[in-house]
């Protein structure tokens, strides 16, 4: 099983663990992830303005390269996934964006949204299957009560992201279960951590993460997992009562490849 792989800026710097454990685990699962040669930063936030084109180009370059290789494009960072998936939707559905982007990029062949971008978790669920994943677990995480922290970017807007039920998702809980641990659902697992507000309004971001942490504590979550480096940073910033790690770290541990 081979995929094109888009890492993104943070995975090469502050979130190296998210990538390292993902690559170790992929190798253990027989999945080949080939990093794109000249990937560019996705911009971290999807440009919401209808009249912005320039900020969508890096995503299109990544998508077009995957399409040309006839491979699905795998992402790991929730923000990269959000941006690239929404830009791909624009390239499929918005003629003005499609025309302007293609006029600018002058690719060998016009790109019209042919590639499919999937998040690593979707690869585990849809390409491998959580039942098959469970069979490959050599070090089950028995008796650990783990809460999924979804955040915003993988889930919303639901029609475009098409990742899971935006109000009551289950993919990460199923993932936790496949690794032999006990998933714990708590109400605030899909609430926003504040995201980029931690730069401009730390107090508000703190209040938002407080609410999430209180909810997790109340429901006896012992550890949290996430797919987003900024969520992890924001949640760690508060009191540190519950440890939070990347979902790939759990995966590597359960597969016996956490080095």
């Amino acid at each position: 099983m081979k995929f094109s792989y888009y890492p993104g800026c943070t995975l090469k710097t502050k979130a190296q663990e998210l990538e390292k454990f993902a690559l170790n685990s992929a190798a253990a699962l027989g999945v080949e992830l080939e990093e794109q040669k000249e990937w560019q930063c996705c911009g971290a936030v999807y440009p919401l303005a209808e009249d912005e084109i320039g900020t969508k180009l890096s995503s299109v370059r990544a998508l077009a390269e995957a399409a040309q290789k006839n491979e699905k494009l795998i992402t790991l960072c929730a923000a990269c996934h959000h941006v690239i998936k929404r830009v791909n939707e624009d390239m499929k559905t918005k003629d003005d964006v499609k025309n302007k982007v293609n006029n600018y990029l002058q690719l060998a062949q016009d790109y019209q949204g042919e590639a499919e971008v999937i998040h690593y978790l979707e690869m585990l669920r849809d390409e491998i299957g959580f039942d098959k994943l469970a069979e490959k677990v050599t070090n089950p995480l028995t008796n650990r009560k783990i809460g999924a922290y979804y955040g915003c970017l993988l889930l919303r807007p639901a029609e475009t992201m098409n990742f899971d039920d935006p109000e009551n998702p289950s993919i990460i809980e199923e993932f936790i279960k496949a690794l032999g641990a006990t998933p714990v659902k708590y109400p605030y697992r899909t609430e926003c951590c504040g995201g980029y507000l931690s730069l401009d309004n730390k107090e508000l971001a703190q209040e938002m993460t407080d609410n999430i942490m209180k909810s997790a504590l109340k429901n006896e979550v012992e550890e949290l997992v996430t797919a987003c480096p900024l969520c992890k940073y924001n949640l760690e910033n508060k009191n540190g009562k519950i440890a939070i790690s990347y979902f790939t770290e759990l995966l590597a541990e359960a597969l016996g490849v956490k080095e």
Partner: protein, 136 residues
């Protein structure tokens, strides 16, 4: 005859700009308040999310543009996902922010501000998104 909404001519152009940047039609809003009820950042907002749309309906753009609200919005898309009228309020908030920061010299975050706002653990993602959101 029903009530008429009078939008001053001077504001029509700016309002049109907001609608064009966002691609959203504020007239679709029926003020049910679901956006406000679910907003995780509403505690620090001086104008609540549903009131933002109401003010835009009434052409009172200045009140929105001068509010804390547009800077408290984290673009989490909870309102977007829950709106029964399919209005993307996150896009409207963005459009109002952009009418401000797209003017020359009006970026909310400047490169010189960054060292004072970061710490060694902060991921690149935060800085990149901060620039995309607050600097043009």
């Amino acid at each position: 005859m029903g009530r008429m909404k009078i939008i001053p001519d001077a504001k029509k152009k700016e309002l049109q700009q907001i609608l064009e940047i966002s691609g959203e039609n504020v007239k679709d809003c029926m003020q049910c308040g679901k956006c406000t009820a679910g907003c995780p950042a509403s505690s620090s907002m001086d104008i609540l999310p549903h009131q933002v749309i109401r003010l835009l309906q009434l052409g009172q753009l200045d009140k929105v543009a001068n509010s804390q609200t547009i800077w408290s919005c984290a673009s989490c898309f909870t309102c977007t996902t829950r709106c029964p009228r399919n209005i993307d309020l996150a896009k409207l908030m963005e459009a109002v922010r952009l009418t401000i920061i797209r003017s020359k010299g009006s970026s909310r975050l400047k490169a010189d501000d960054v060292p004072g706002k970061i710490d060694p653990k902060m991921p690149q993602q935060a800085i990149v998104s901060g620039f995309r959101k607050y600097n043009k």
